[in-house]
Every structure is written in structure tokens, then in C-alpha cells.
């Protein structure tokens, strides 16, 4: 078999070591499959969802591993990234290939999509050329049935010479047989496994063709399809969602709808939460009275207050946005977005899959940066990484919503949603512009080739949507924000209360930044908040509020009316609001994202670029707005 080791990614090595057997007799079982075959569903169902690690796209971007005990045996399951082939193209595929080639697994479960068996068999046959310890899992049998596709699993087993198990992972059907089959082949290795006929002179490409032809032959033998109509519904839906007339309007309305639901839905829970959390402030202060001053104040008015703010401002929108977004993902809509937008990216000499990584960026830019692994060309991957932060992540869009609502939309959540969608569109346009500029300067090159699968539409599993969006995403992102919120709260309290001469440290810092910041329509406090917000964007608004409040005491901060009064009293105008929002959309990425860029690119230089590019664009935009305002008024 002509599969050669070209390079072994560091990633695979590091991750391999992290797979720890609990007992010597434990079996390491790798799950491999094409993208979108429900591989992660199989994995989650087997391991009982004991892992939730950055599985953002619905794709596994790095390896997740889990442990399960069955039939008196321990199984370490490793969920490899989805791949089409072992002849690696993308970094994701490299990880999967290297894992199998290095012989890390005692057995491999190849997960196939029952509705698309022929294409899936190509990968299965490639793997069979490397190892005999394979179990084939034909998943999505319910979808296949709906499409009137019948697969003769017995015959398939005969032809391949390995155990073939039919499953419907989302309904947990057939899964227990999988591990039993793994045990069976470990006890008695299958004797008569399919393999390529010996032919020494065959080139690597000839091997690949041979495998494709075999997959076709096998599929023809075992599959029984009731006519072409099987995929008719998908085609009908695609004709609307990707049509000239409706493709773009639907995309925009979908964006608008999600934001409207998020803003409208989060409003009420947000104020309840904030009222509830701030009710504890005074009792907490009294309770901690035994501590030496100023500790109670540091802890309560610093750490607790900022934390409470972050929770009440961030939690409700996330808890609504993430499930809605995961729903779209599960439906299979996102690849259509990439399909619709690809020409724009091509014009900017970038990859259409960048649209997918931008979608991931809505949730979290760090996740978006990791997601860039799905892009094959290193040049286009770098472009996607460097521009990802132009999509406002969940840490930033509640901030945008709050400012929009206060200064422009009144109480109309529709207006806020429209304004926010407008900002997102601006972010997309800037992304395209910067991608183009990068392509003609430091990342010179022409667009590379591109293949994008448009998977079947699937009914989302509501249970898993909620679990994934709440546990994987909401808690993960919120947790990270909280970790930086409390220390930052303490820092800002100290800065606001420790006096040097006549002024607090905070005042000295903000006064220092003021002349510079005012060139860009901001003020020292705002700029300082963005600087302190480096660990997590979520804390920018709380810092601004605390800094302003330290000048005097203000109550009634639970609602936006009180907040607007506070901001206006500190000199905010509509232009300040616009510049602050622009700067929020375009400034340095948060620390986590920068660290992720460092890890993904392996280069300090690109990390610096990821910091500078959005910052320069943001300062330029704010400067323009502010200057135009100064000239006009």
C-alpha cells in the first residue's frame, strides 16, 4: 500500500500520550470516519458523554478520548477528526492518519454513513490496507430507511471479512454490539479480510483508484435503493436555501432571527439575575465584616460585583444563542452558508470554508481559530486565523447589544437585532477586505482548490443540542470569563481606591490614556477597559461601569436606563457609542485566542500579526468616525 508517512504532527504525539490506560488489559479503540457521519454521536453514546472538549463545529477538531467499561474490559475510546482519506490533505486528516499509522490503536471502528455508503467505504478500504483489527459501524440506519435505502449488512460482512454492525447512534441502537465485536476480533483476529490483490508495480494513485472501484462494486452488491427520489427532499430544500433569489435574504434573516430571539429572550432573565445577584452584595459585605479592612470591600465590591455583572449580562444571551446556533449546525445549514459565500472568498483569494470558521467565531474566536484546521491550504488557513476576531464572539456581542439598545434602539429589540446584524455584516466585509489585502501583500497567492461537502439535512436531536450547547459551550465560555472576572474586579477596585497623591491609580492611568483615546472617539476609561479586558472580553463593560462608578456612588445599575445615565454623565455621546462598538468589533483578540493562534501557527510572528491587524483596523475606523464627526459638527 502506497501510504507514506510525510510528516507526523506534533499534535498527534502529544495527544497520544494523554490516552491513559487504567489497566494493562484495557483496549485502545480509535473511531474514524468521514465528517458528518455521526461519529461523535457514536462516541458520546458509548462513553456516556463523559467528555466535552471543544467540539465546536459538530466536528472533532482535536482528539477527544473517553473511557468505558463493558464486558469486564476497559475501553479507551479515541474520537479522531473526520477525514475523507488517509492520504492526508488537511491538518485534521493528518492527525487521524498518523494515529492509525503509528499503531496506537488496538482496534479501529470505522463509522460509515448508511445513506452514503459507497463514498464512506473508500476510507474503510484504505484503513483495511493498514490494519486487520477493524470493525465497520454502519450508522444513520434510520436516515437510510427514511431514504428507502436497504443495506445487506451480512453480505457486507462477508465481502469485507470483518464484523459489520448496523447502528442508529442517536437512538442508541446497536451500540453495545460494537464493543462486543471489538472484543471478538481481539480474541480471534478475522482470517479472511479484504485486501488489495498483490501488485507490486502499482503507483499510489493506481491504488487509490483501485480502492474507489472496489468501494463501488461492494456498494452495488449490498445496497438496495428505491429510486432516485430518496434525496428529493434535500434537493428541494437546497434549491431554496442556495437559490439566486432567496439564498442571501434567508441567510440574513436567519442571522437576524437568531439575534432577535437572543436579545428579546435574554432581556428579562438578565434583569432578574442581576437583581437577584446584587441583592447579596450588602449582606455579603456585612457577613465578611470580620475580615480586616479593606478585604471585605475588595472581595465584594471588587471581585463579587464584576463576577455578578458578567454572569447576569453574559449567561442569558449565551444560554439562548448557543442552543439556537447548535440547532442550525445540526440541521446542516452551515455548509450551505459556506457554499453561498464561497465566491466572495474566492474573489478575495481565500477559502469558502472560512465562512464556517467565522461561524465558529460567533461562539468563541479561540474555537474559530482551532476550526481553521478544516482549511487545506496553509496560506488560506493563516488568512482565516488572522481575521477570525472580526467576528464578534459571544463575549462581545452582549456588549454590542447593550450599547446599541442604550444609544440607538430604545427598547425595541427588533431594532437592536437589526443594528447588531448590521455590525456583523460590517465585520464580514472587513474580513473579506483584510483577507484580500493579506492575499496581495504578506500572504501572496492565488486561491487554491476547494471541495466542500453539503451533507444531508438532518433532524437535530434536541437533547444533545441542549447538552452540547449548555455544557460544552455556555459553561465553558462563561467559566473562562469568570476566572478572569474575579481577579480583574479586585485589580480594578484596588486601582480605583488606592490613592497616589490626590488621585487614584485608576484616575492616573485613565488620565494618561485620555488624550490618546480621544483621538479615536473613546476615552481613557474605555481604552483601559479594553486593555484590562484582554483575558476575556466579557469584562469590558463591567470595568467601564466600575471605573465610572468609583467617581461617585450610583445605584440602580440593574437596568440599561440607569447605565445609560451613568455613561452619559461621563461624557458618552452617540459618537462615543459608535466608536466603542467599532473598537469592540475590531481590536486585539482575547488572550485565549492569541494563545490558540500561537499554538496553531507555531509562530510568534503570526501571533503578533493576529494582535496587530484587528487593532490597526479598529483604531483606523474609530479615527475616521471621530474625525468626520469633528469636521461635520
Amino acid at each position: 500500500m502506497g501510504i507514506t508517512m510525510q510528516s507526523s504532527t506534533k499534535d498527534a504525539r502529544i495527544n497520544t500520550r494523554s490516552i491513559e490506560k487504567k489497566e494493562e488489559s484495557d483496549l485502545v479503540v480509535a473511531l474514524v470516519g468521514n465528517p458528518n457521519v455521526g461519529k461523535s454521536t457514536v462516541f458520546n453514546a458509548l462513553t456516556g458523554m463523559h467528555q466535552h472538549t471543544g467540539n465546536w463545529t459538530g466536528k472533532t477538531v482535536s482528539m477527544a478520548s473517553g473511557y468505558v467499561k463493558a464486558y469486564d474490559r476497559g475501553f479507551c475510546l479515541v474520537d479522531l477528526p473526520g477525514c475523507y482519506s488517509l492520504f492526508a490533505h488537511s491538518r485534521e486528516e493528518e492527525v487521524a492518519r498518523d494515529f492509525i499509522l503509528e499503531g496506537n490503536a488496538d482496534a479501529v471502528i470505522v463509522v460509515c454513513d448508511g445513506t452514503c455508503l459507497e463514498r464512506n467505504l473508500i476510507l474503510a478500504l484504505q484503513i483495511l490496507c493498514l490494519t486487520k483489527n477493524v470493525v465497520l459501524c454502519v450508522n444513520l440506519l434510520d436516515e437510510a430507511k427514511k431514504k428507502h435505502i436497504e443495506i445487506n449488512l451480512k453480505k457486507l460482512e462477508e465481502l469485507l471479512g470483518i464484523p459489520v454492525i448496523g447502528t442508529t447512534a442517536r437512538k442508541k441502537k446497536g451500540l453495545s454490539n460494537l464493543l462486543r465485536a471489538v472484543l471478538k476480533i481481539k480474541k480471534r483476529p478475522p482470517a479472511d479480510v479484504w485486501n488489495l490483490p498483490e501488485n507490486a508495480g502499482r503507483s499510489e494513485e493506481e491504488t487509490a483508484r483501485e480502492i474507489v472501484r472496489h468501494a463501488e462494486e461492494i456498494s452495488r452488491t449490498v445496497k438496495n435503493e428505491a429510486g432516485e427520489s430518496a434525496y428529493a427532499r434535500d434537493r428541494r430544500v437546497d434549491r431554496i436555501l442556495t437559490s439566486k433569489a432567496f439564498g442571501f435574504p434567508i441567510m440574513f434573516l436567519m442571522l437576524l432571527g437568531i439575534f432577535w430571539l437572543t436579545i428579546e429572550g435574554a432581556n428579562y432573565p438578565s434583569s432578574i439575575l442581576s437583581e437577584f445577584l446584587f441583592r447579596f452584595e450588602t449582606p455579603l459585605l456585612q457577613f465578611l465584616d470580620f475580615l480586616p479592612a479593606p478585604l471585605p470591600e475588595v472581595l465584594v465590591l471588587g471581585a463579587y460585583r464584576v463576577t455578578a455583572w458578567v454572569v447576569s449580562v453574559m449567561l442569558p444571551p449565551m444560554a439562548i444563542f448557543f442552543p439556537l446556533f447548535t440547532l442550525l449546525e445540526d440541521l446542516g445549514y452551515l455548509p450551505r452558508v459556506a457554499f453561498n459565500l464561497d465566491k466572495c472568498f474566492k474573489k478575495c483569494r481565500a477559502c469558502g470554508k472560512q465562512a464556517l470558521t467565522m461561524c465558529m467565531g460567533f461562539g468563541c474566536n479561540a474555537a474559530g481559530v482551532v476550526g481553521c484546521r478544516i482549511i487545506d491550504s496553509p496560506r488560506e488557513r493563516l488568512i482565516a486565523i488572522l481575521t477570525n476576531s472580526f467576528v464578534p464572539c459571544n463575549g462581545r456581542f452582549p456588549f454590542l447589544v447593550a450599547v446599541l439598545t442604550m444609544f440607538f434602539a430604545g427598547s425595541g429589540s427588533v431594532l437592536s437585532a437589526v443594528g447588531l446584524a448590521g455590525f456583523i455584516v460590517l465585520g464580514v466585509l472587513i474580513t473579506l477586505l483584510v483577507s484580500y489585502l493579506l492575499s496581495v501583500t504578506i500572504l501572496k497567492g492565488v486561491p487554491s482548490s476547494f471541495t466542500l461537502e453539503l451533507p444531508s439535512y438532518r433532524r437535530p436531536q434536541i437533547g444533545s443540542v441542549i447538552v452540547r450547547s449548555v455544557f460544552d459551550r455556555t459553561i465553558f465560555v462563561l467559566g473562562r470569563a469568570l476566572v478572569s472576572a474575579a481577579p480583574c474586579g479586585i485589580l480594578i477596585w484596588i486601582c480605583a481606591n488606592v490613592m497616589v497623591g490626590d488621585a487614584s491609580i485608576l484616575k492616573i492611568c485613565t488620565d494618561f490614556l485620555n488624550p490618546f483615546a480621544s483621538l479615536f472617539g473613546l476615552d481613557g476609561v474605555i481604552l483601559m477597559a479594553f486593555i484590562l479586558g484582554l483575558p476575556a472580553n466579557e469584562i469590558v463593560l463591567p470595568i467601564i461601569v466600575m471605573a465610572y462608578m468609583s467617581g461617585g456612588t450610583l445605584t440602580g445599575m440593574e437596568d440599561l436606563i440607569g447605565l445609560k445615565a451613568l455613561l452619559s454623565a461621563n461624557g458618552w455621546t452617540a459618537v462615543t457609542a459608535i466608536c466603542t462598538m467599532l473598537f469592540s468589533l475590531m481590536h486585539w483578540p482575547c488572550a485565549t485566542t492569541l494563545l490558540t493562534v500561537r499554538k496553531e501557527t507555531g509562530s510568534l510572528w503570526w501571533t503578533v500579526a493576529a494582535f496587530l491587524i484587528p487593532t490597526i483596523v479598529g483604531f483606523t475606523a474609530c479615527f475616521l468616525v471621530n474625525t468626520i464627526e469633528n469636521i461635520l459638527l
Binding site: F87, E216, F339, N340, D342, P447, S448, F450, L452
Partner: protein, 75 residues
């Protein structure tokens, strides 16, 4: 003729692939070899890329890539 000139709804059979390097590999891996049946399902709103049905899967290819796949029109 080239795959890119297949109109939505039309079908063809691959005769020759002129792509080189990575793209050639990629096309073979998704099952696009000589004699493979392909049909064009539709174009994206801006006219490029187009969606093709290849071995039961729907794959989007840019015109510039589909230009490297030569086909014979069928039925």
C-alpha cells in the same frame, strides 16, 4: 466537455481528470475517477461554485476546479 459546463439537472460520465497534485488526490479520494457518474445539482447564488452529486454525496466544486474534470454528457 468539462464538468463546469454541465447545467443543473444534467448528468455526465468522467472521462479524464487533468488536475494535478493535491487537487487530483482530493478528487480521487471523493471517488471522482474515470467512468464515475456525476450530475450537477445546482449553482450557488453567485453562480460559482456548483453542487455535484458524486457517488451519493453532494460536493461543491469551484468552476476553476471543475474545469479540470472532463466528462461525456449523458441522458
Amino acid at each position: 466537455m468539462q464538468l463546469s459546463s454541465l447545467a443543473p439537472g444534467e448528468q455526465g460520465r468522467v472521462t479524464f481528470i487533468s488536475a494535478e497534485g493535491d487537487m487530483r488526490r482530493r478528487l480521487i479520494d471523493i471517488g471522482l475517477i474515470e467512468n464515475t457518474e456525476v450530475s450537477c445539482l445546482g449553482r450557488s447564488p453567485l453562480g460559482d461554485p456548483s453542487a455535484y452529486l458524486i457517488r451519493g454525496a453532494v460536493i461543491a466544486l469551484r468552476d476553476s476546479d471543475a474545469d479540470t474534470v472532463f466528462i461525456e454528457r449523458e441522458g
